[in-house]
Symmetry: C2
Subunit: 362 residues, 2 copies
C-alpha cells in the first residue's frame, strides 16, 4: 500500500470519527424504512402522495411557492440555470470559479445546455457585490453557493447577500441559491431559512449533506419555474417511476436533524480550535461559519498522510481518510461536522490532538 | 367522479389483478432489503462493490464487456445514442415513430443532445430491414426496441434481427437495443440473451419491467463506450452518491424472476385468448410474442370504461385501471403479465370474462 492507501485504511479502522453522521451503509436506509408501512404506495413518475407531500412540505419550509424532488443536485441546478437562461433568451450565467457546476460535473452545463459561464472573483475569494457589478457582459442568472464549499465553507455576510439580491433584481438578473448546505449556515446568519431563500429566485437544497439522507435534492421556486423544471427533469432522465427510496429517507433524516445545525456549528468551532492549536496547521476559515472547514497542513502531502495515519492508528480517532495537495509543501482535507462528534469521548479527542501536535513538531 | 376515475377506483379495489407483479409499494423495497446486512457499504459515485459487482454480473449476463447502472432508461439511452453520434461526428439516429425517446421524454434527445431523428416505418408497423435500407440520409445509429411496446409488444423474427445487424455492420451504422423488456422476448425467440445482445453494439435493459425492481437501468457495451457513458452519466446528474436502493432491489428481483419469463409468456398467450373470445375485443398481437399485449375494444372510451368498471366491481378481478382512445369508436389498454397471474383463482377469471363478454354484447 502507498501512503494514501495506508491513510484511508487507518481512518476506516478507527473506532470513532469526528466528521459526519456515521458510515454510509444500508443501515441508513433500513433505519428510515422501519417507520414506513409496507402498504405505503410508491410515487409514480412525479405523482402521488409519496413525492407530492414532501415537495409541498419543503416548499413551505423554504418559503417558496413550489418545490420538486430531484435525484441529484447536479441535475436540479443545471435545470434551474437552463430555465432562467431560456426565460431571458441568453445562454450565460455567472458563478464562483470553484462552483460544483464548473469543477465536478464534467461540463454538463456547457455540453448539455450550451450555457456559457462567467467566473466571478478569484478561486480563493468569496463573491462580493462588486464582482457582480463589474463582471463583463450580461448574464441571465447569478448562482451563489452558500457556504462556498471548495474554500472551506466561507460565507459573505448577510448584508452582502441582501445587497447582491437587490442589485440582481434591479438589473433583472435571476439569483439562484446553491444551498446544498444552506441549513448549516443558519446558526451563523441568525436568520430563518425563509429569510435567506426570499433573496433568491430559485433554491436548491441537498438531502444528504447536513440532513444525511441517501441522495436527492429539492429545487424550489415559483409556479412557472417548477412546472418547467419538471419537464426538464423528464428530459434529463430524472423523472424516475419511483423516487421514494430517497424521499422517505430524506424526510426521515430531515426531521431527525433539521434542528441540530447549531450543534454541528458549535462542534465545528470547537474542533477547528483544536486543529489551530497544532503546529503547522491552520483551518479555513479560521473560525468556521457553518458545520464545515478545511484543515491546511504545512507539510508535503505524503508526509502529512503518514502522520495522520499514525495518529489515527494510535488514538483510534478518525480525522480523515485522505489529504489533497495544495502545493509541494502543503496539503488539506475537509471536515464536516454531524451527529458523530457528540458521541466521541473527549479524552480520546484530546489525546489524538496531542499526538498530532507532537508528530507535526517532530 | 367521471367514468375514468370510476374505472381507476374499481381496479384499485379488486382483490386480484391479472397484470404485473403486485402493487408498487414500500414492500417491494423492504422485502429486498430484508436480506441486506445493515453494514453493507453504499456505492459512492459509481464506485464500490455495491454497484460494481452488479455491473459486472450484468455485463457477463448480457455477454458484453462492461455495463453501467443508470437511474433511468431515459438517461441511459440518450447517452448511448449521443456516444455513437459523437463517434461518427453525425448527430442523427433512426428509430421507430413510437420509440420511448420520441414520445415519452419531452424531446430530451433533441433538446439536450441536439440529435436529429429519422422515423423508420409507420406507427403501426415493426421495423424491417427494408426500412433501414431505404431511409433517407446517413445516421450514426439505429435503435431497435424489442418488443415494440407501443404497438402491443410486437417483434420482428430473429432472421430479420440478424439481417438488420449484418446490414448495419456493413454500413458502419451502430445498432442499439432498447431492451427494456428484452428478457420477456427470449421464450419466443428461443435464443439466449447473449445471442440477442451479440447483434447489437449497445444494450439497455430495464430493472423494473419483467424483473420488477423499483427503478434503474443497465447499459452495456464495449470498454470505451461504457467509459464514455460514465462521463455522460455525471453530466446528466445521474452519477448519484448512492444508487444502492435501486441496485440491491434490482439484483434481488433479477434473481427472483429472470427464469420466469417463459411463465409470463404462456400466461400472456392464455389471457389474450380469453380476451379474443369476447365480443368486440381483439388483442394486438393476436398471439403475444412476449409477456405483453394490447387489448382493443370496439366501443367508445367512456362506454368501455363503464363496462370494465362494472366487470371489475362484480368479479373482484382487476383487468385495467384505464383505457386510452384510439378513435371515436374504439379504445385500448396494455396488459403485461408477471407474478400476479398465477395467484388468481381461475374460476374467478372465467367468471370475469363471461361478465365482460355479456356486457359487451348487451
Amino acid at each position: 500500500m502507498n501512503k494514501m492507501e495506508i491513510l484511508k485504511k487507518a481512518f476506516d479502522e478507527t473506532s470513532y470519527q469526528l466528521s459526519g453522521h456515521g458510515p454510509r451503509n444500508a443501515k441508513v436506509l433500513k433505519q428510515a424504512f422501519q417507520e414506513i408501512d409496507e402498504d405505503t404506495k410508491s410515487d409514480i413518475y412525479g405523482t402521488g402522495a409519496a413525492i407530492n407531500d414532501f415537495e409541498e412540505k419543503m416548499a413551505s419550509f423554504l418559503g417558496k411557492k413550489k418545490a420538486v424532488f430531484f435525484p441529484s443536485g447536479t441535475m436540479a441546478q443545471q435545470i434551474a440555470l437552463r430555465i432562467w437562461c431560456d426565460e431571458k433568451e441568453l445562454a450565460k450565467v455567472a458563478y464562483h470559479p470553484l462552483s460544483h457546476l464548473e469543477i465536478h460535473e464534467e461540463g454538463g452545463l456547457k455540453k448539455l445546455h450550451g450555457i456559457e459561464t462567467v467566473l466571478l472573483t478569484d478561486r480563493n475569494s468569496i463573491i462580493q457585490l462588486e464582482d457582480i457589478k463589474t463582471m463583463s457582459g450580461d448574464v441571465a442568472c447569478v448562482l451563489l453557493e452558500l457556504p462556498q464549499r471548495e474554500i472551506g465553507g466561507q460565507l459573505p455576510d448577510y448584508e452582502t447577500l441582501a445587497a447582491i439580491s437587490e442589485y440582481c433584481r434591479e438589473k433583472d438578473i435571476r439569483l439562484h441559491l446553491d444551498g446544498a448546505r444552506i441549513l448549516e449556515t443558519l446558526p451563523f446568519y441568525k436568520k430563518s431559512i425563509e429569510e435567506i431563500c426570499s433573496l433568491f429566485d430559485s433554491v436548491y437544497l441537498s438531502m444528504y449533506k447536513g440532513i444525511g439522507g441517501i441522495a436527492g435534492a429539492i429545487l424550489a421556486g415559483n409556479d412557472d419555474f417548477i412546472k418547467e423544471s419538471k419537464v426538464w427533469k423528464k428530459r434529463h432522465g430524472g423523472d424516475l417511476i419511483s423516487l421514494y427510496p430517497y424521499i422517505f429517507t430524506a424526510d426521515y433524516y430531515f426531521e431527525l436533524r433539521k434542528d441540530n445545525m447549531a450543534d454541528y456549528y458549535e462542534a465545528a468551532k470547537e474542533l477547528s480550535a483544536k486543529y489551530n492549536s497544532c503546529e503547522g496547521i491552520s483551518t479555513l476559515p479560521e473560525v468556521p461559519v457553518s458545520n464545515m472547514f478545511h484543515v491546511h497542513i504545512d507539510k508535503p502531502k505524503e508526509q502529512a498522510a503518514e502522520i495522520l495515519a499514525e495518529v489515527q492508528q494510535e488514538s483510534g480517532i478518525g480525522l480523515t481518510g485522505y489529504v489533497r495537495e495544495i502545493n509541494d509543501g502543503s496539503c488539506y482535507y475537509e471536515v464536516s461536522l454531524g451527529d458523530s462528534y457528540a458521541g466521541v469521548p473527549q479524552d480520546k479527542v484530546e489525546f489524538a490532538f496531542r499526538l498530532l501536535d507532537e508528530k507535526l513538531k517532530a
